[in-house]
């Protein structure tokens, strides 16, 4: 077995001749993570992407698209709580929510912890992802059959254009911009459509990749959202199984400020179980390391 073959295998995400190890390759860094797999539960090529779900001892079930880790049972709540609760708690009374992407269901699960919510539309391009999640990822998909949830299988970047002044909160839970059709959810045009689909008090969050390897996407997402929304702030959270472990999210709104207008009492009295997010984490997440602050100042 030549070295060349191994490198090819890694770039594909799964080393074909060593099916017991999962390798995720972070291309810009010539590096990545690996995990010992116990059992490959599901593997399919949909119209949009390769879908894999497998079992590990440590991370539980792991879900990947095009060889890029999306969710593990171990740390899904790090990501989903940070993506969802920042815009949800910043809205005074969120009733109608749009989740774009988020096929594993983790974002919907978190949205529904807010009692005020009457309706969540989840627009996921790939129906096969949702079917696989319902079957193999109960940890994230548990609330997808809730009566308040409407599932739409369309390109979210187009779907959002059907609405004006409709949603209280929009959550952009996209895949990696380089995987499948993920890039559609990183255009200025799309962010403009989100702005229009939000009501006056509307808040939005968007997963914004990592700084270390994919700094270009983070800067792009942030600077494009900033062109569209009067209030735009990047925040960070730990996310062990995503590249670098330092994950970027963008908060945006038509006027609500995520620090000045934040009410910690609302979080303290929430009454639902949260494992990562709390009132101190909310404020802390907007404190950026100096190198990142400087980069954003120049955008």
């Amino acid at each position: 077995m030549s070295e060349e073959k191994i490198i090819d295998g890694m770039q594909y995400g799964f080393v074909p001749n060593r099916h017991l190890w999962y390798f995720e390759y972070y291309t810009p860094g010539n590096c990545g993570i690996f995990m010992k797999m116990n059992k490959h539960l599901y593997s399919a090529q949909s119209k949009y992407q390769r879908i894999d779900i497998f079992e590990t001892d440590f991370f539980g079930r792991v879900f990947s698209l095009d060889g890029i880790t999306m969710t593990t049972e171990k740390d899904d709540f790090f990501y989903h709580e940070m993506l969802v609760h920042v815009p949800m708690f910043m809205h005074p009374n969120p009733k109608k929510v749009l989740v774009i992407g988020g096929g594993d269901g983790g974002s919907v699960r978190e949205v529904l912890k807010h009692k005020s919510v009457e309706k969540v539309i989840m627009c996921e391009i790939d129906e096969m992802v949702v079917e696989a999640a319902k079957k193999y990822l109960p940890v994230t998909a548990s609330k997808l059959d809730d009566p308040r949830v409407e599932l739409v299988f369309e390109d979210g970047s187009q779907f959002v254009r059907n609405f004006k002044n409709e949603f209280d909160v929009i959550i952009i839970d996209s895949t990696d911009p380089t995987a499948g059709e993920g890039g559609h959810l990183f255009t200025e045009d799309f962010y403009k459509a989100c702005f229009d689909a939000l009501k006056e008090n509307g808040t939005l969050s968007a997963e914004s990749e990592d700084w270390l390897y994919d700094g270009a996407w983070l800067r792009l997402a942030y600077s494009r959202i900033k062109k569209v929304f009067p209030v735009t702030k990047l925040y960070l959270g730990f996310m062990p199984t995503y590249p670098s472990g330092m994950w970027g999210y963008t908060f945006a709104s038509k006027g609500i400020d995520p620090i000045k207008d934040f009410d910690p009492e609302k979080v303290k009295n929430f009454g639902e179980e949260l494992k990562y997010y709390n009132e101190e984490i909310h404020k802390a997440a907007f404190a950026l390391p100096t190198f990142l602050k400087k980069e954003l100042e120049n955008l």
Copy 2:
């Protein structure tokens, strides 16, 4: 080549038959990170541990002990700034500092950015690490020849017992407790000796491992330090090339509180270049995710 052989290779840190990839194996998680190596610059077995320094395109030079990544040129400042500046800024006027471990020199480099410092003793057990760092890691070792620095090559857990009421700040920049003699620097006895060696206004920081894979060490370090010091607080920082990317540090003092007694103006007016740490990061680092807060409450 059988699967068994590959697994053995990974556990050792370097896959012998694929010298162009560095694998760090996180044993409790059956997982790890890998990096493409360009060139192996240095490899030696000292009395205490295996030392490796190699070059990569993305991370620059990488330094590992017993196959565990200690420093990369790309992200050394994430770790060293968080370990050093929290206790240094909390001390009203740090003149005499003890660094225990820290052989690559990164902690000393950061300590010397504080103008008040008259003397730093760095006590590193392994002289070969310091020699290798001076030769191959100028990014961290650049200040080891400063006249204010005294290098001592002894077991820090014993060396600190020579002092009573001597230091303003002690920084425990240990290797992994499972590597070399690292475990010595995680005992209650040792923390008690640090307490005695500190002056009345003394502050201390200790690297405290990660929660996801090595939670036992983090809890142990924190709870033992807490038994000894009246003020003990865990804080967190991003650290991409360490396990999980979420790195724990413990701050301790004889009375100074790292939040209530913190003066952000001191940091704003520092006048030295810092790339990660700033006054907002200082406060944010003490905000812990709920799962971790709960664990610490029970210790």
